[in-house]
Amino acid sequence: MKAFQYVRSTTAKSAIEALAKDPSAMFLAGGTNLVDLMKRGVTEPDKLIDISRLPYTKIEKESSGVRIGAMALNSQVADDKLIQEKWPLLSLALNAGASAQLRNKATVGGNMLQRTRCGYFYDTEMDCNKRQPGSGCGAKEGYNRMHAIFGTSEHCIAVHPSDMCIALAALDATVIVQGPKGERKIPFADFHRLPGDHPEKDNTLEKGELITAVTLPDSPYAKNVHYLKVRDRTSYAFALVSVAAALELDGKTIKSARLAMGGVAHKPWRLLEAEKALVGQTVSEATFQKAAEVAMTGAKGYEYNSFKLKLAPNSIVEALKIAAGLTA
C-alpha cells in the first residue's frame, strides 16, 4: 500500500474544503471497500479525509418521507423500526448484503459509492478501462460470469455490486449532496451511470461533493415487498441476480409496482416498463411472467453469464410471487 496522509473532518464544510485542496484526496467513511482497493493498489490516494464523525447518522421522519443520514451504518438502517415498518424493502436489501461485520461498519453513503467487484478491475496487472481508462476491458472476452447483461458498452461490462442501492432505486430515493457550490439533490435514477465511454465514472457526483443524506418519499409499499438475492453461497456473496419487488395491491389487483434488479448492470437496473406492465393487472404467475419478459428487453449475455438471461426473469417472477404472497 502506498503511504498516505490521514486527516479527520468533523464538519461537511471542512471536509469539502480539504478535498478541494488536494486532487488525489479521498473521503473515508466505513472504509470497507476503499481500504481493500488501497491494499490492492487499485486506488492510491495521497490523503484520506475521514468523514466518519460527521453528524449525519440520524434516520429522521420528514413531513412526507424519511431522511437517512449518509453516515448511518448499514446495520443501523436495516434494524431501524421506522424503516422496517414503512420501507421494509430497504431493510431486506441491506440485510442481504455483505456480512454482519461489514454492515456494522459500512455507511449508507459509502455503500452507494462501492466500486465494482469485477476481478479485472481489482487486478492491476489486467486491462481495465474503469481502473485505467484506455487500457481495454479484460472481462469482455474473459471470465465474465458475474457481469452485466444490460446497458454495457464496448469499454466495460462490470456490474454495480450494492444490494441497498437496488432497493433505493425501486423506492425512488433522492441523494442529497453538499459541494463547493452548495447543496443539490440528485434523483436516484440519475446518481449511478452506465459505463458508456467513461467507465471510470461510476456516478454523477462532481469533484468535491459529499453525500450527506438519502431521502425516501412516503411509500405505499409497506406490505407486499421482497428482495430476492440469488447467489453462489447463502451469505457473504455478491448477487448473480437480485430483484427488489414492491407491489401496491387492492385485493388481487395491482395498483402500482416497483421493480429493480441488481447484478445485471453498471447501475441499479430499474424496470420501469415491467412496472407499467403490472399496473392494473391481477396478481398471478402469468402476469409476473409477462412483466419479466418485458423486463428482459435488450438483455445481452456474454460467454460465461448467459445463464442470467434465464435466471433474471425467473428471479423477477419469484420475487413478485413472494411479494404478492403467492408462494408456499
Binding site: 500500500m1 502506498k2 503511504a3 493498489g41 456480512s99 467487484r117 476481478g119 479485472y120 481489482y122 487486478d123 496487472e125 489486467m126 479484460g138 472476452e141 474473459g142 471470465y143 460470469r145 430476492l228 440469488v230 447467489r231 453462489d232 453461497r233 447463502t234 451469505s235 457473504y236 456473496a237 455478491f238 448473480l240 445463464f307 434465464k310 435466471l311 425467473n314 428471479s315 417472477v317 419469484e318 408462494t327 408456499a328
Partner: protein
C-alpha cells in the same frame, strides 16, 4: 481412573482449548524475536518465460528496506549448486529452486523478496520492483491439453491397471459412460502460510514454521543447505489449519532462509491470501471418465476409470484418484488409467482426502447413475456388490463395517422418505432430494517414536515430534496415555511440534493417531511394566496380567493392600524419573495379511429451488467406520469439518484461471466461496465405533480424510434425486440447474 472421558473412547475436551481461545497458543507468525525483519514477495506477472531484467533500485532506496533478494543476488544454495534434484526427501522438498535462475514456471511465481524493517514498508517497496520478461507461450487450460497427459513416472500404483477383461462394461446389458470434472480447489486454512527464519551461526538455523511435520521440514532444510540435521531447529507447536498445504517445504520458505542469511537478521514471511492460491498448492483440476456396466439384476461386471490431472511443468504430482475404483465394489473386470498433464502453474499438493475425494465424486456419481438405470435403490446396489474381501489384492479386510454404516445413515436421514424417481417431491416450494455416497481411505500407520517420562511427583510427560494442524492430536495422545497409565489427564503433558523430539511422521493421510498414538500406547505399556519390575516386594504375589493401573497406582485386585503409587516406586528406587522411548510400527507381515481401510458414508437431504437453481443442504449425516474412536468429541468435530469441506466441493468452491494470461481471477475470499455458516445444515455424526483388531493397539483407523470423501457426490446425487438433473462438473452453482 474415575473420569471415563479420559479413557480411550471418551469425550475429553481439548487439552489446549483454553490456550487457543485466550490467545495463549502461539502460531509461527506471532513470534517476535529480537532484530526481526519482514519479507514480502514480488510475483511474476507472466506465466512462462525468462526474466530479462529486474529493476530493484527504487525498492532498495525505499524507506526501511534492507535488501531486495532476487536470482541475481541470492546467496548460493548448496544443494542447488551441487545440481542435486531439488525434490529432496521423497518429494517434500521445494520442487522449484527459489531465486536460483531466471526461469518463470507460472504466473505469481516469486521473482524477488523485499526485506524491510516493517511489514508495511516491505509491502510498499515490493510494489516498486519491476521486471522485464522474455515471454513464451503458456498453457494453463487442462481441457485444452488433455491429449498431453503423461503416464506418471514417480508412482507405480498409478500406472495402468487391469483386472479381468478390459472395458468389459461396454458389453454389459446395462451400461453407461460419463465424464466427471472437478475444478481446482484451494485449501485456504484460516492461517496464512509462511515461516520465520533465523541463522544462529554460519551453520545453525532456527525456524518457526507452519508445517505438517517438523521432522520433514528439518530434513528438507538440512539437505538443502547441507547442514547436520541437529543444526536445524524447527518449532511448530500450533498450526491454524493446513488440509495438506503444509506437507512440504515451499520455495518461499527456502527464499526466506536465504533472505535471513543475506541480511544477517531473522526474517519473517507471511504470504497473502492471494498468494495462498498461487504459490502454495491446491487440489488439482481433474477430468475423469467412468464406464460402468451391470447385469439387469444389478451385478456390476465391469468398470473403467480414466483420470487426467492438472500438474506443474517442473515436477510430477500424483494422488490416488483411481484407487477406490479397484476395491470398493466386487467387480471382476476393472481397468484404470491415470495421466498427469503438465501445465504452466504451481504444483498441486494433497488436499484433504487427496485423490480419493476426487475419484469418489466420479465413482459414487456413476454408481448412483447406474442405480437409476437399473431402477434399484442405490444402497441396495452397493450392498449387492459389496466385496467380502479386498478384490484388488485378494486380502481379507482388517475390518469393514460399511454395510452397518449404510443402515445407520439411512435410518438417521429418513431414507424411507426418498423416492427412487427423481423430481418426485416438493416441500415449501422446493424440490426435495436425498443422496448418499461412500468414501474410503487407506488406514495408514507409519513408524513413530514416543518418549514417556514419569516424574518423581507422579506426573507424566509424553513427547513426540508430531504435528497438530487442528484435529486435537495432543488431546488424543493424553487420553491414550491416561488410559494406559491410569494417570488423570491433568497430570499428563504431551509435547509435540518440536524437531528435537522423538521421530514422528508428517500429519497427513490420516495417520497420526494410528502412528504416534500407537507409539504412545506402547511406550506407556512398557513404562508400566518397568514400574511393576521396580515395585519390589509389594506386588510379588500378584500376577502381572491381573494388575490394574488407576489413580497413579498399580493395584492388585486380589490383594488391595499391595497397591503402590508410581511416585512411591520411583522413591523406593531413588529415581528422579523413569523414562521409556519406544519406536512403534506395524509389522510388514501384518500389512501383507490384511487390506486396511477406513470407510465413510455421507447422507444428505437437499432442497433445490425450481426456478433459481439454488441448492440448500437441509440435513447431513456423516458416518465413519474408523475402528475404535479414541475421542468422540474431537472426532465428531473432524467429521463435521469434513462435511463442511464437502459442501464447499459440491456447491461453491472453484479456483478460476483466465487462460489468456494464466492468472487466477478469483483468488480472494470474496470471490472464491468457502461455505459460510448459513450454508451448513444440521450435521449428525455417527460412528460405527467397532475395534479394528489389526491396525493399532487402540483398534483405531484414520479419520481426517474420510470425513470429506464422498460428501460431494452425496450432494450431487441428492440434487439429481431432487431435480432429475445430473451435474457432472462441480461446483453445482445455480446457473447449472436453471
Amino acid at each position: 481412573m474415575k473420569n471415563k472421558d479420559e479413557k480411550i473412547g471418551g469425550r475429553m475436551s481439548r487439552v489446549d482449548a483454553v490456550l487457543k481461545v485466550t490467545g495463549g497458543a502461539t502460531y509461527f507468525a506471532e513470534y517476535e524475536v529480537p532484530n526481526l525483519t519482514y519479507g514480502v514477495l514480488v510475483p511474476s506477472t507472466i506465466t512462462r518465460g525468462r526474466i530479462k531484467n529486474i529493476d530493484t533500485k527504487k525498492a532498495e532506496s525505499a524507506p526501511g528496506v534492507l535488501v531486495v533478494l532476487t536470482h541475481v543476488n541470492a546467496p548460493k544454495v548448496p544443494a542447488y549448486e551441487a545440481k542435486e534434484p531439488s525434490k529432496t526427501s521423497s518429494g517434500r522438498g521445494p520442487g522449484m529452486m527459489a531465486f536460483h535462475n531466471d526461469e518463470i514456471h507460472f504466473n505469481g511465481q516469486p521473482i524477488a523478496m523485499v526485506v524491510a524493517d516493517t511489514f508495511e514498508r516491505a509491502t510498499y517497496a515490493a510494489s516498486l520492483v519491476k521486471a522485464e520478461y522474455q515471454e513464451q507461450k503458456h498453457q494453463t487450460d487442462l481441457k485444452a491439453n488433455l491429449a498431453k497427459g503423461n503416464v506418471p513416472k514417480t508412482n507405480k500404483s498409478l500406472q495402468d491397471y487391469q483386472r479381468g477383461e478390459k472395458d468389459a462394461y461396454k458389453t454389459a446389458p446395462v451400461n453407461l459412460e460419463e465424464e466427471y470434472v472437478l475444478p481446482s480447489e484451494v485449501h485456504n486454512p484460516m492461517e496464512l502460510h509462511g515461516i520465520l527464519a533465523q541463522w544462529d551461526g554460519p551453520d545453525k538455523l532456527t525456524v518457526y514454521a507452519k508445517t505438517q511435520g517438523v521432522k520433514m521440514t528439518q530434513q528438507v532444510i538440512a539437505e538443502t543447505f547441507k547442514l547436520p540435521k541437529e543444526n536445524v531447529q524447527v518449532h511448530s507447536q500450533f498450526v491454524g489449519g493446513a488440509f495438506g498445504m503444509s506437507l512440504r517445504v515451499w520455495p518461499h520458505e527456502i527464499a526466506t532462509i536465504l533472505a535471513a542469511k543475506k541480511v544477517n537478521r531473522p526474517v519473517k514471511l507471511v504470504i497473502t491470501r492471494n498468494e495462498m492460491f498461487t504459490i502454495a498448492g491446491y487440489r488439482p483440476h481433474t477430468h475423469q471418465k467412468i464406464g460402468i456396466g451391470a447385469t439387469k439384476d444389478g451385478k456390476i461386471v465391469g468398470i473403467s476409470h480414466w483420470a487426467n490431472v492438472q500438474n506443474s511443468n517442473y515436477e510430477e504430482f500424483t494422488e490416488a484418484t483411481v484407487a477406490m475404483t479397484k476395491f470398493m465394489y466386487q467387480i471382476p473386470n476393472v481397468n484404470t488409467t491415470y495421466r498427469v498433464v503438465p501445465l504452466d502453474i504451481c504444483s498441486p499438493i494433497p488436499m484433504r482426502g487427496p485423490g480419493e475425494a476426487t475419484g469418489a465424486f466420479a465413482l459414487e456419481s456413476a454408481i448412483d447413475e447406474l442405480s437409476y438405470a437399473l431402477d434399484v435403490d442405490p444402497i441396495e446396489l452397493r450392498i449387492m456388490n459389496y466385496p467380502e474381501k479386498d478384490p484388488e489384492r485378494d486380502l481379507p479386510w482388517s475390518s469393514n463395517y460399511v454395510r452397518e454404516a449404510y443402515k445407520m445413515g439411512a435410518d438417521k436421514i429418513g431414507w424411507s422418505n426418498r423416492s427412487n424417481q427423481p423430481k418426485a417431491k416438493m416441500e415449501d416450494g422446493m424440490w426435495v432430494g436425498y443422496g448418499m455416497a461412500t468414501g474410503t481411505f487407506g488406514a495408514h500407520r507409519r513408524p513413530a517414536t514416543a518418549r514417556a517420562c514419569l516424574n518423581a511427583n507422579g506426573t507424566l510427560l509424553v513427547q513426540s515430534a508430531a504435528s497438530d494442524i487442528g484435529p486435537g492430536t495432543g488431546t488424543a495422545m493424553v487420553q491414550i496415555a491416561a488410559d494406559v497409565m491410569g494417570i488423570p489427564a491433568n497430570r499428563i503433558k504431551f509435547e509435540l511440534g518440536e524437531s528435537n523430539l522423538p521421530d514422528a511422521p508428517i500429519q497427513g493421510g490420516s495417520a497420526t493417531v494410528a502412528s504416534v498414538g500407537s507409539a504412545v500406547h506402547e511406550a506407556c505399556i512398557e513404562l508400566r511394566q518397568k514400574l511393576v519390575e521396580l515395585s519390589g516386594n509389594a506386588l510379588k504375589n500378584a500376577k502381572v496380567d491381573t494388575l490394574v493401573y488407576e489413580d497413579g497406582k498399580i493395584n492388585s485386585p486380589k490383594d488391595r493392600s499391595a497397591s503402590i503409587t508410581y511416585a512411591e516406586v520411583l522413591k523406593r528406587n531413588n529415581l528422579p524419573k523413569l523414562e521409556v522411548t519406544k519406536e512403534s510400527k506395524l509389522s510388514e507381515d501384518q500389512q501383507k495379511k490384511f487390506a486396511m481401510y477406513s470407510f465413510s458414508v455421507h447422507f444428505v437431504k437437499v432442497h433445490v429451488h425450481p426456478t433459481t437453481g439454488v441448492v440448500k443442504v437441509k440435513h447431513a449425516v456423516a458416518l465413519a467406520d474408523a475402528g475404535t474412536i479414541v475421542n468422540h468429541k474431537t472426532a465428531s468435530s473432524q467429521m463435521m469439518g469434513g462435511a463442511v469441506g464437502g459442501i464447499g466441493m459440491a456447491l461453491t468452491e472453484e479456483a478460476v484461471i483466465d487462460h489468456r494470461f494464466g492468472r487466477y481471477v478469483n483468488n480472494n475470499f470474496a470471490d472464491y466461496h468457502v461455505p459460510v455458516n448459513a450454508d451448513v445444515p444440521e450435521v449428525d455424526v455417527l460412528f460405527v465405533d467397532k475395534k479394528d483388531p489389526y491396525t493399532t493397539p487402540m483398534g483405531s483407523k484414520g479419520l481426517g480424510e474420510i470425513a470429506i470423501i464422498g460428501m460431494a457426490p452425496a450432494i450431487a446425487n441428492a440434487v439429481y434425486n431432487a431435480t432429475g438433473k445430473r451435474i457432472r462438473e462441480l461446483p453445482i452453482t445455480p446457473d447449472k440447474l436453471i
